[in-house]
Assembly symmetry: C2
Homo-oligomer: 364 residues x 2
């Protein structure tokens, strides 16, 4: 594909041409993008992710908006250059580039981030497609997967076999748009902590159960979520999530992985993993396995209350409402590592195999 035919370049040309035409016709040019806010989000199980309810905001060029108008156009120009030269820029770098824009330069990064979010929503693509990458990296991967990348100098295909890294792993890059996959794995296991991931890698769990292990490292980054999404789409295999048994693991980590987040609804369709299922640790696991627990913190209880009231995902799923209610009743939370009470490798010999065999113990 020639860089000129790239859909990003085409879309930026279309928007710019329209603005140019309006100016030539002596009309006030406008830019329109979806309203980005938590209250403008709905959840539909069939779509599988948080969607904007369609409210739009329009910015008309006037004396007071001329600077932000100019900034949007200048940033779109940077995006076009990045895509055309096959380069990348972090959000932070984009902010510094603006230092050459004279009066239109940004004074603080939040200003430039906000313009970037608007452009992302207006163009209808995620910002990695626009050439802007996150500061933070993605997750770690081990197991039955070949990632196909290309050498950025020669364009030659590079095949990365994730069974060949010993105790180490493949580290997902900041942008995964160009990656392709080959796998005969049966499922993807997405794991909250690096420690648990390391245990499963050390004992070649991916070989025993023919799967792909991915370390989320807490709330997964954009590139980690996008990687899992692209992989599960391509390979058509299920994604099982394994986090701590607490509101943070359930609502911040798992819910973000599965349906996305509220304040970035315009890009959830690229980043959600609608097919994900929750393996554990569930509230029932805490009881069933008599796990060592910690008291629920005030912040946990607040998170549950907020979720029950405001989170369209929780409101949609009765089993999650029950799990959250059970946890608050118990006043307890349990970590993945709590399974070590029965021996370090109980998680490999018993817990995960039992989960795989019994979908009734999962949550949606």
């Amino acid at each position: 594909m020639s860089k000129k035919d790239n859909p990003v370049v085409q879309e930026i040309r279309t928007i710019s041409q329209r603005i140019f035409d309006e100016i030539v016709a002596l009309r006030q040019p406008e830019m329109t993008s979806p309203l980005r806010s938590l209250s403008n989000v709905s959840y539909d199980e069939k779509a599988g992710y948080f969607e904007t309810t369609g409210k739009m905001k329009t910015r008309t060029m006037t004396a007071s908006t001329v600077k932000s108008f100019a900034q949007s156009l200048l940033m779109m120009n940077e995006s076009k250059k990045l895509v055309e030269t096959d380069d990348i820029a972090t959000k932070r770098e984009m902010y510094y580039i603006s230092k050459n824009w004279g009066e239109a330069r940004f004074h603080e990064q939040p200003e430039s981030d906000s313009v970037m979010d608007d452009i992302e929503a207006m163009v209808g693509m995620n910002r990695e497609q626009l050439g802007f990458i996150p500061e933070e990296k993605g997750g770690d991967v081990a197991g039955k997967l070949v990632v196909i990348d290309k050498d950025s100098d020669t364009g030659k295909e590079i095949r990365i076999d994730c069974t060949k890294f010993g105790s180490g792993a493949y580290s997902v890059p900041s942008s995964v748009e160009e990656l392709q996959f080959e796998t005969k794995a049966d499922f993807i296991l997405a794991i909250e902590t690096a420690g648990m991931f390391q245990r499963l890698v050390k004992h070649n769990f991916w070989k025993k159960k023919n799967c792909i292990l991915i370390s989320l490292g807490g709330v997964p980054t954009r590139s980690c979520r996008r990687f899992i999404r692209k992989l599960s789409d391509d390979a058509k295999i299920p994604v099982y999530a394994f986090t701590d048994g607490d509101p943070y693991g359930w609502l911040n980590i798992y819910r973000t992985l599965k349906v996305g987040s509220g304040n970035a609804a315009h890009i959830n369709k690229f980043f959600c993993v609608p097919s994900a299922k929750f393996f554990g640790v569930t509230a029932d696991d805490i009881t069933h396995y008599k796990l060592p627990t910690h008291p629920l913190k005030d912040v946990d209880i607040k998170r549950v209350k907020d979720g029950m009231k405001n989170d369209p995902f929780v409101i949609h799923y009765k089993p999650w409402q029950k799990a959250l209610t059970d946890l608050v009743k118990m006043k307890k939370r349990a970590e993945q590592q709590a399974l070590a009470k029965y021996g370090l490798n109980f998680v490999i010999s018993d817990y995960l195999p039992q989960k795989l065999e019994d979908p009734k113990t999962w949550l949606p």
Copy 2:
């Protein structure tokens, strides 16, 4: 090497035998380990890292110490089992294992962490050698390096070529004790931010300058520091650090990488990288390159004052005292990304090549 001949197992046997003999002889058994505190640290440029000044603490078994005594022995037993079975446990998992120790169980993880630190100091090995791994993972690696690991099932050698990861990277495992290296690289470049690392990987900087790129991801983890240390020892190549131009980048990230930290002095000899040099961003760079800056924060100024007064590393090196003083005078700090003012790839085309050619611009 048979597991029985492992130095960890031997050392644990020696300590246990001595305690056993004391008990049989009806003497009160004792355990001795170096005092772990900031005030018990010195810096010697020849040694290259923070060392304890030799003050020891001795714990005698009495009615009031019997529980912590038992905990130390039980944890040493776990360590012995881990090493003998070639397994690993995170600090968190170790805490949960204690839930089966009846009255000797830990009630909070800080208790078990503290016992682990004592054992580490007493045995004189780092806790990864004892089988205990950190929760967090190490850094990311790309470039002219082959890492040699082994398959944990078959023991067969695995060769990991870090030039073959495309836009991704090799992710360093939580424990690097068993790894070996093959490299003809000229140097290691240790980079503060994932974003800058991604840029250098994207543009194959390691190919242009025949080097190894390592992403620190902020203050480097233990396994990342140990990886760089082992690699620089093995390959006998210099390590250059590239961080933001601020007290956090200098004193928290670089100083920890080079000489270790104050509160873990008993293991600095394993984790420091004495040969590391500081590339930038220096205070002189901010002036020389007219970099966009941010105001120095109160916390930055406090960090400088603390460092000038209490940090044996700063007290040892005049150039660092000057750099810190200059920064406070300017009241400014600059990030690695600020170089993007001159174009995204100025760092590749100009900044890093100029640094490589001119050691006078480095700091010790």
